[in-house]
Amino acid sequence: MKRISKKDEKAFETLYDLYSKLIYSLIVSVVKKQDEAEDVLQEIFLQVWEKATTFESTKGNVYAWMVTLARNRAIDRIRSKDFRKQRQEVEDTEIDMMHNPTEKNPLDSLVVGERAEIVKSALQQIPTEQREVIQIAYYGGYSQSEIAAKLNLPLGTVKTRMRQGMRKLQTLLREQL
């Protein structure tokens, strides 16, 4: 990122080659449309190019920055930007202040494909209703109360399913990663 902040095009191209497939896939999962996903992908990488100087490695890793950026942009596409800001704002240009900068980059330790299979498998192992609320929240940008309304469930049920699902995912992932 330091090289990119100094407008090193080669470094930028390397970053693109490393992250574009993952980021694009995440965006497609959110927006569902390929042409819109291409637009968002370009927006994100151009923003990385423009805002690289604002990235602070002490606040988090590039992976976290990129996926946060990608998810926010993709959610903005399917829902209004104001709507997201009313809820839980995550600035594009900075990582969550409470984020642990020493956490491992999921792209670092294992081959991406192998790691992805582990995550997919873990998601499949948790109960469907728990997986459902997690996926609606993450890929749809919905709040817990919206999910409750969408699935016609009590809010408490949604909260419980989300907590249990995330807890189980944590256990399953920690067993293999």
């Binding site: 694009y24 999921p106 997919k120 995912l169 944590q170």
Partner: protein, 279 residues
Amino acid sequence: MITDKERFEELCSAYVLNALEGEELREFQQDLIEANPERRNIYDEMRWVALHLPLASEFVEPPSYVKENILRAIQTQPSPRAENMLGKAAKFFGLIKPQVALAVSLALLVIIVGLSYYTFFLREVVRQRDQQLTALQADLSLQRQQFIALQNELTRKEEFLKILQSPKIDVVIMGGLEISPTGYGKIIWDPERKSAILQISNLPPVPKDKDYQLWVIKGQKPVSAGVFSLTDPEKESFFKIDQLVEADKKVISAFAVTLEPKGGVPQPTGKMYLLGKPS
């Protein structure tokens, strides 16, 4: 402070999925700042899980032109400083797809052609307005000349009127002679002010190098009383004589008009056209 660990986990799992809102969001954010190591660990773990969720997406390779567009867009950004100003535009052009780019290009072409036509149209309007302005200026100049002529005419008429309003005026009629038998002339003068009006009609046009000259004949001696030209021989012409050389009717034996070299001469040399004697 959230006292219940289970509730903390509940809020935490929603927070890392950006699914918290309202009061609960504010409550959790505040709690996170004051979180003990155990709760910080819960948060870190939840976040770690959330950061893995993108890996569960079905992996799709982006089209190669996306990379080309992005690289092209960053290469066209001139400098970091200029980038701030041009960034949005460059980004816009970098983001658009070939079909959209074509449409934008065509739209720009249409705009350019439209602007060119509009420029041509404006130039034509300006040219026409310029012509109209020139014509109006010429017309104004003509009208100003006419106004000055009318003012002069009015002044002259006022002068004539002053002479005619004088309580004592003298009049001499001049008749045409052999060279101009239909010629006619009249002198009206105010003996006190020595101002006179000369009225002429039916005299032939004056050649360029000639003038008509009025003479006052005292006894046998002609004395010049002024020269004049006829602008329109068809019409009656009036001339004002400010200082008549002789205003005493008893002394004046006749008035005469001759055709003389341009500007007049001390003594008559040309043919006599009009002649009249006081009655």
